[in-house]
Amino acid sequence: MTDEFEPNILAFCCNWCSYAGADLAGVSRFQYPPNIRIIRVMCSGRVEPAFILEALKDGADGVLITGCHIGDCHYIDGNRNAEVRINNTIDALKYLGLDGRLRLEWVSASEGARFAEVVSEFTEEIRKLGPNPLKET
């Protein structure tokens, strides 16, 4: 069992909603798999496709972007920018054989349970997908 694949997942959380949601998961002690590392950005709209590619190139097995729900963005519509950009990146990754390794989710500051669910679910999906193929090359 020891050599079971443990995915490395990198997450970008916006400061106002989803990072606070991740904190709330902690405050409420909602457990989730420890495979995730969070980078805090002020807004999901800050996340550039280059960051995602960098993470995948460096060996991330999955990348999770979380932001405020549409309409709730602290910066009015930063998450809409994120939506367009991340969805384009999701499409692009299909051509690179990295389908399913990038995910965008909305998590509010009060959705600690949802944050834990999203992370658990995504971790399981990545576990099923197996290691990032870029790692071997």
Binding site: Y32, I39, V41, M42, R46, D72, H74
Partner: protein
């Protein structure tokens, strides 16, 4: 570059799961780290002293603290850096509590994750740049949204401190729900009597009230908000009206009064209640004959000051304030969907607020107990608790005030009508509060019958009486009780229009729909948006006593802000590299705050960021197509360094 890493045990919160010794040891192996220590409570004085002395002894210029969430203590440690002459932005936190020890149980994996989080924070701090805070002016005025007891208390506290206060109330009078109540627990004093001195705030030289008004738009930022207020047309010229009341006396149109729980009527031109502040009536255009039929004009004819203006238009007023307090209160849950209770079907099933009006000396019956169905004097009463509260099908939370107000109403009935039979069907009696338990005991002694159980059904009988079926969950007996009237203790919901206001203010709400505080214990009146505070039921159900306390807290929070003429902002702002920028304007398109202008420079165009208007979201950086735009403290190379560090194998 000398980096110090400090790992906090947080008692056993962190150390109980994560091997802090190992993390400390690991930190010393990282590039640039000259010292790493751990301590039981890093945020305590002895903890901070460790950092202070290392800054001195080991010439630290950069610090990483691995502890709780930065929202909790980033400021604490930045202050230490500043105090020691360092730059507060050469600091990073690794969140190993909320995002590690509290969410993982596998100690080895949690410890490994802590290595990674520390490594990421060290990588970031290595690339951090010293930043200077931006100084901005503060408008020493406050906006209070809502004129209920919370808004009044907060306004008075601020006005008495000498600040100008703008109060916006959507109804035509201030007073809120409290003005509707009969008597209040546990003192049984008349709400109007204890409110009156506070409602006199309209005479305060520092307070301006905009009644029958709503917030249209809010722009700006902490210390410098610009607020558009829609002052809806009252069809009455306020400067001329002397509040004599002739218009409402003579108006021929009667309309069901929402304020009276639709148990009584009001006129088409009306004040909410006789003691209304301001005492200026509003003409209800939906029901006024002048507007529906184009003929009448009685009010205009009888008005001695010629204050009626049928053509009055809404007015938009702009005010500048430094702080905003949201005191929008609550709405009572409409129990119609809970069909088994028969609300809306049986006239003698009332909500708690309706019963308050029915027993209120200035209510529709002038306080005389009459059943709505036939005007008969009711003698047998059933109070049904937790209607829409503590119920997975409606609201899961406890509305907190219903136990006590029901006990209060039951006791008043027994006091004033000793012949009455009074039943309370409860889930639990929650009487926590000073003098509350004692009050509850007295009501028991006075013969109020408490039956523990949820009523399964209310059946209307031909004579308008009601038959209640319930089980006493303490004895297991099944009850059938016939009463003349049933009163539903309905849940407290977020006030109507909360969603719209949330969008305007850009503040968060919890899963229960109430506005969310920045921290339940340590920042209970703040929102996550600087300069916006919460008071009273806007944040969650609470009684009058707690509301006043909360409002005073909000006023204190706001005055801490507006007592200064200047404040400093975090310098997390965007900037463009003029040598690279081509002035295409993509950044300007995505900026929601008007912080970017395209300006000419040496015969070409470049983007220029106004640092004060910039909120630091970074949308422009993402939009920039040639890497000219960047954002301080979240620069590409800073984020990339964290990505690389995260993917290194520990």
């Amino acid at each position: 570059m000398n980096i110090g890493v400090y790992v906090c045990h947080c008692g056993t919160n962190i150390a109980g799961v994560i091997d802090v010794e190992k993390v400390t040891e690991y930190a010393t192996t990282l590039d640039g780290v000259v010292v790493a220590r751990n301590y039981k409570y890093m945020c305590s004085d002895p903890g901070k002293d460790l950092i202070r002395s290392d800054i001195k002894e080991n010439n630290l210029d950069r610090v990483v603290v691995a502890a709780c969430s930065p929202t909790m203590h980033e400021k604490t440690y930045r202050d230490v850096m500043e105090e020691m002459g360092g730059n507060p932005f050469l600091f990073e936190m690794a969140n190993i509590r909320e995002q590690d020890s509290w969410v993982h149980t596998d100690k080895d994996m949690a410890t490994e994750k802590a290595y990674d989080l520390v490594r990421m924070a060290v990588a970031k701090v290595r690339r951090n740049e010293p930043l200077e805070r931006i100084e901005i002016p503060v408008t020493q005025r406050a906006l209070i949204i809502g004129g209920g007891v919370a808004g009044m208390e907060a306004s008075l506290d601020l006005a008495e401190q000498g600040y100008e206060v703008i109060m916006v109330e959507k109804e035509q009078s201030i007073g809120g729900h409290m003005s509707q109540l009969t008597k209040t627990f546990p003192t049984l004093d008349c709400p109007m009597c204890i409110l009156a001195p506070k409602m006199a705030l309209h005479e305060h030289k520092n307070i301006t009230i905009y009644s029958f008004s709503e917030i249209e738009e809010v722009s700006g930022y902490v210390g410098n908000f610009e607020v558009s207020i829609r002052k809806k047309a009252k069809s009455v010229i306020e400067d001329l009206c002397n509040g004599c009341g002739l218009c409402q006396e003579k108006c021929p149109t009667k309309v069901l009064s929402v304020y009276d729980g639709k148990l009584g009527t009001r006129k088409a031109i009306y004040t909410l209640f006789p003691q209304a502040v301001p005492r200026i009536p509003v003409l209800d255009r939906e029901n006024c004959l002048m507007f529906t039929k184009g003929t009448c004009g009685v009010c205009k004819k009888v008005c001695p000051t010629d204050a009626i203006d049928y053509d009055q238009q809404d007015e938009i007023i702009t005010e500048k304030v430094g702080a905003i307090i949201v005191a929008t209160g609550y709405a009572e849950y409409d129990p119609t969907p809970i069909e088994e209770y028969g609300y809306g079907r049986y006239k003698n099933v009332l909500t708690g607020l309706q019963f308050e009006r029915l027993t209120n000396a200035s209510g529709p019956t002038l306080g005389v107990l009459k059943r709505p169905s036939d005007g008969a004097t009711p003698k047998r009463f059933a109070f049904i608790q937790c209607v829409g509260s503590r119920d997975v099908n409606t609201q899961e939370y406890c509305s907190k005030v219903c136990c006590m107000y029901t006990v209060k109403n039951a006791r008043l009935l027994r006091d004033e009508h000793p012949e009455s039979e009074v039943y309370i069907f409860y889930t639990d009696v929650r009487s926590a509060g000073k003098g509350y338990e004692e009050f509850y005991k007295i009501s028991q002694e006075k013969g109020v019958k408490f039956i523990r159980g949820r009523v399964s059904e209310v059946v209307g009988l031909p004579d308008d009486n009601l038959l209640l079926r319930t089980e006493d969950t303490l004895t297991g007996d099944v009850y059938e009780v016939e009463v003349d009237m049933a009163i539903l203790a309905c849940a407290l919901l977020p006030a109507e229009g909360s969603d719209k206001l949330r969008d305007i203010l850009k503040i968060s709400e919890g899963t229960d729909g109430f506005f969310m505080e920045a921290h339940p214990k340590l920042r209970p009146v703040d929102t996550l948006t600087d300069g916006i505070y919460l008071a009273g039921c806007a944040q969650g159900p609470r009684d009058i006593a707690d509301t006043v306390v909360h409002a005073k807290g909000a006023a204190s929070g706001a005055s801490v802000l507006i007592s200064h003429t200047k404040m400093s902002l975090d310098p997390i702002s965007a900037y463009s590299d003029e040598s690279v920028c081509r002035g295409c304007g993509e950044c300007k398109l995505v900026c929601q705050f008007g912080a970017i202008e395209i300006e000419p420079l040496n015969g070409r165009l470049i983007a220029k960021v106004n640092e004060v208007l910039c909120k630091g979201c970074g949308a422009c950086v993402g939009a920039c197509c040639n890497g000219a735009m960047s954002i301080r403290h979240f620069k590409d190379e800073q984020i990339n360094s964290m990505i690389e560090a995260a993917m290194e194998v520990a």
